[in-house]
């Protein structure tokens, strides 16, 4: 049984246990708990990162820029400014004297050199402490250079990753509403919360194109400043990754009256439901028919192959630990589609409703955890004798050390897992990890290598 910190006892739940369901969440991580969470800066950085024609500069000491340089699989069809790392690299004297002058000079030289469409300035921890007026510097540079220069108030300690999403959304709100919208179709959407990992946005865009829906902007996969400026012209906001984007969607609804709906592009059922929901929203029979034809085509293509994987994967046990809970719903369904059972599921930033929904979705005995840590996760994996663990880079070594398969479903991945093709990739990846012969040699399954020979 897991060794759970007293402060965290109410953040772990086993479905079927006697007491009523009540999971604490949306709390600051307990000090000393090795949380898998990041910080406010991380939340802002992941959301804005894929905007490829903007300059992203981290105002602070070098670490925050180093650790986020080109680590994500967010692709661009054109400019790749987002894949460079820029920092004011504050030194001791900058801390003492203030970093505004350095930030001004850095912004000017980088804008001159790279000619971006806009610039995002990420404030890190100490910027908030020493009191640099980042907004004032941004305003000045914006006037001088004639492009939007947007402060992102992402001081690491000022909350959780979710507050970083909000800070990113606030920066985006300053852009949205500044572009022309005359030519936008009444059947148009913004794709919110897809980040074009391994080209996933392109797949999703293709589905919408085949349905006859105009995509005004994608926020932020393969993102472009000029598209984002026009986002207020779309008729509907379609929100994936709800944790990061619901706040922005609500703001857009409030300011521009644009309705929004939550979708998910992971797994066959969720993918299809999302497309149908969009088609139904526009109340267009022809569009609905086109969607049906497309979904049928896509399913016919992948279902036989998925069935083959299902035969092999039937009954295998999976654990899930991801950033946002909404992705976890889709993963539970997708795994079920492959005949697999989810025995543990958790997220860094889920809220009460999310966990309630997860509880309904999961089988008896499933462990549900909020803001977990390596010791808990490793004990869950051992206790439930898991075959594959789905998470991000920080979870990978926990699985591998124990001789357990792992599938990367985080921002660093280089495999497209969204859409129909993505479901097939997902199945392939789970299969290749679960069925690898290397587990025959690991101590957890078979004892030591020498015993295998005996």
């Amino acid at each position: 049984m897991a060794d759970i910190l007293r402060e965290r006892e109410r953040q772990v739940y086993r479905k079927g246990q006697a007491q009523p369901f009540q999971l604490d969440c949306e709390k600051q991580s307990a000090a000393g708990s090795v949380s898998q969470r990041a910080c406010v800066f991380c939340g802002s950085r992941v959301v804005l990162y894929p905007i490829a024609d903007a300059l992203h500069i981290v105002h602070g000491p070098i670490g925050c820029a180093s650790y986020t340089w080109d680590i994500r699989g967010a692709l661009s069809s054109g400019p790749e400014l987002h894949r460079l790392s820029f920092s004011t690299d504050m030194q001791e004297m900058d801390v003492v004297r203030g970093g505004e002058k350095k930030l001004y000079a850095a912004l000017c030289e980088l804008i001159d050199a790279h000619q971006p469409k806009a610039a995002f300035v990420y404030a890190t921890c100490i910027v908030g402490v020493i009191g640099d007026d980042v907004a004032a510097v941004c305003k000045r540079v914006s006037l001088e250079k004639g492009i939007p220069v947007l402060p992102v108030h992402s001081e690491g300690f000022k909350g959780t990753k979710k507050d970083g999403y909000i800070a990113a959304g606030d920066a985006l709100m300053q852009l949205i509403g500044t572009g022309p919208i005359e030519d936008i179709s009444p059947k148009s959407i913004n794709i919110l919360g897809d980040f074009n990992l391994a080209g996933e946005t392109w797949m999703i865009r293709d589905y919408y194109a085949r349905m006859g829906v105009q995509v005004v902007s994608c926020i932020t996969g393969d993102g472009r400043i000029d598209d984002i400026r026009r986002a207020h012209g779309a008729a509907l906001n379609v929100v994936q990754c709800s944790g990061s984007m619901t706040h922005l969607a609500k703001q857009l609804k409030e300011k521009y009256g644009t309705p929004f709906m939550r979708v998910s592009y992971f797994g066959v059922e969720d993918m299809s439901r999302s497309l149908y929901d969009v088609a139904r929203h526009f109340n267009d029979r022809e569009m609905l028919q086109r969607t049906q034809v497309m979904v049928r085509e896509e399913l016919e293509r992948i279902m036989p192959k998925l069935a083959e994987y299902k035969k092999i994967l039937e009954g295998k046990r999976a654990a899930i630990y991801v950033g946002g809970a909404f992705k976890a719903f889709s993963l539970v369904s997708a795994l079920r589609h492959l005949g697999m059972t989810t025995v543990m599921v958790g997220s860094q930033t889920g809220n009460k409703d999310d966990y309630e929904q997860l509880r309904e979705l999961c089988d008896e005995g499933t462990i549900i955890a909020d803001d977990s840590n390596p010791l808990e996760l490793s004990s869950f994996l051992e206790e439930k004798d898991v075959d594959v663990f789905i998470g991000g880079v920080k979870e990978r070594p926990i699985a591998y050390k124990l001789g357990i398969g792992f599938c990367d479903h985080n921002h660093e991945r280089k495999e497209a897992l969204a859409g129909y093709e993505g479901m097939l990739n997902f199945a392939r990846e789970v299969h290749s990890s679960v069925m690898s012969p290397v587990w025959r040699l690991t101590p957890r399954k078979r004892g030591s290598a020498l015993e295998v020979v005996k």
Binding site: S35, C39, I62, G63, T88, T124, I126, V129, I130, F157
Partner: protein, 466 residues
């Protein structure tokens, strides 16, 4: 400061204010690595949650091992009112969950900027802690706005030794005749190599830090809260009683280090030499071992050296006059420059994100026989390196350094030979052996074969016999 006219220290260039594609990480990262190299220890960052998570990801992607780093997890309130409560609660929680023998606390830019008195806070904590078995606490100041991950590493080594070393403490395993070895930031394979050398000399050593097992361990059936391996606290305490200290790093000459501290306070003679990369620097290392032990270098290493010289001869034509761009942690760059230069490769640009002020002089010392110009740049990023290459028409044939040079290599259209830290785009980065004759042998084969492959692939003939 340069001791040689061949070394160009700097050149006219646009004076960039920003850092563009950094060739460094921040100081606390190096400190957490050192703490992971102490037996039974857990690294702990006093600062925001994100710092620990980002550094874990960075280290995990290189070592491909679990790397738990605890944190006090600053909130807005702790930033205003001080993080003492968070630190204390964090230490309590870490102790109750991990039962560590030692907690190694490093600060971050946030806690340094608000002026946290970590020493005082720990003192308070220890005073009020009633438990008999609370862990040993060590701490190091690593503001990210000073220096690089390497500075954080070296400062942590020094601080741990300063806080633990005591006269009269003798490790039980051996009596008095032993040597301290402070290798700097090297790979797990390098650490294992150094332990092997000591064993072959029959000379007990205290190798610190030692993450050769904790960050490159076997597959497990049960998760270990704190992985096995590491320098024992007892051995670190006893560093004050060693016969001598050997410390790798020519660029450390400007710094106060663990070895210099032990010499000053406990009269343990300190021998500072370069990282033993290539024949010359390895010769210096084995000579130092001979001098300290009074023993001859074991035959095995003479054989290795002989085979390496033979390999240099076999491959010399492929390397002579080839031009390399060398980048990375300063002492690794010095070692690589020494190695490359002795094989006939010209290290046309030696660059580092570090700023010891001693890189130029150190490179000059190990490349005295090189007739061509060598450009040395401290405190630079990858875009500056690219500009330097263009501005001075350096035309490198290959780049050698961490995986962070992949983009530069692609732009220049030359191969990148991956060494050092981090290696995030290949497997086995932690197992690259750099040190000793055997390390040089592996590096040599890698360099020659990279150039042979290039030759093979870059023409239409497709030689199958080279």
């Amino acid at each position: 400061m340069s001791s040689s006219v061949r070394i160009t220290k700097s050149a006219p260039r646009p004076n960039w204010v920003s850092t563009r594609n950094p060739c460094k990480a921040c100081a606390p990262l190096g400190a957490t690595l050192v703490m992971r190299g102490i037996a039974g220890a857990l690294p702990f960052l006093h600062g925001s949650q994100g710092c620990a998570t980002y550094m874990r990801r960075y280290l995990i992607s290189h070592f491909r091992e679990p790397m738990d780093i605890a944190t006090s997890g600053f909130s807005e309130a702790s930033t205003v009112f001080g993080g003492g409560a968070n630190l204390h609660q964090g230490l309590d929680n870490v102790t109750s969950q991990y039962h560590p023998a030692l907690i190694g606390i490093a600060t971050t830019c946030l806690t340094e900027t608000i002026g946290e008195d970590v020493h005082g806070l720990l003192h308070e904590y220890q005073a009020k802690s009633k438990s008999d078995e609370h862990p040993v606490l060590v701490h190091v100041s690593t503001p990210s706005y000073n220096g690089t991950h390497v500075d954080g590493f070296n400062d942590a080594v020094r601080e741990v030794v300063e806080q633990l070393a005591e006269r009269g403490a003798t490790p039980s395993a051996y009596v008095t005749n032993f040597v301290n070895l402070f290798p700097g930031m090297v790979s797990t394979a390098d650490l294992r190599f150094l332990k092997e050398v000591a064993a072959d000399f029959a000379m007990p050593i205290t190798l610190f830090p030692d993450y050769s097992e904790s960050l490159d361990g076997p597959s497990m059936d049960k998760y270990k809260k704190i992985p096995d391996g590491g320098t024992t606290i007892e051995a670190i305490r006893a560093t004050a009683s060693a016969k001598a200290s050997i410390e790798f790093g020519r660029t450390l000459r400007t710094k106060r280090t663990a070895a210099s501290f032990l010499q000053e306070k406990f009269e343990v003679p300190a021998k500072r030499i370069g990282m033993p990369i290539g024949i010359h620097e390895s010769d210096v290392f084995f000579a130092a071992m001979e001098k300290i032990t009074g023993l001859k270098t074991p035959e095995k290493y003479k054989q290795e050296r002989g085979r390496l010289v033979d390999a240099y001869v076999d491959g010399h034509k492929y390397l002579f006059g080839k031009r390399a761009l060398v980048f990375g942690d300063e002492d690794l760059v010095v070692g690589l420059a020494s190695f490359l230069a002795e094989t006939g490769v010209v290290p046309v640009l030696c660059a580092s994100g570090g700023k010891s002020g001693a890189l130029g002089r150190s490179i000059a010392e190990v490349t005295t026989h090189v007739r061509e110009n060598i450009v040395v740049r401290e405190g630079v990023d990858f875009m500056t390196m690219a500009e330097e290459v263009e501005l001075k028409d350096l035309k490198p044939d290959f780049i050698i350094g961490s995986s962070k040079g992949a983009k530069l290599a692609r732009e220049l259209g030359v191969p990148l030979i991956r060494v050092g830290f981090p290696i995030h785009d290949r497997i086995g980065g932690q197992r690259v052996l750099h040190l000793g004759y055997s390390g040089a042998q592996q590096l040599f084969d890698l360099v020659v074969n990279t150039l042979l492959e290039l030759k093979q692939d870059s023409n239409s003939i497709g030689y199958s016999y080279l």
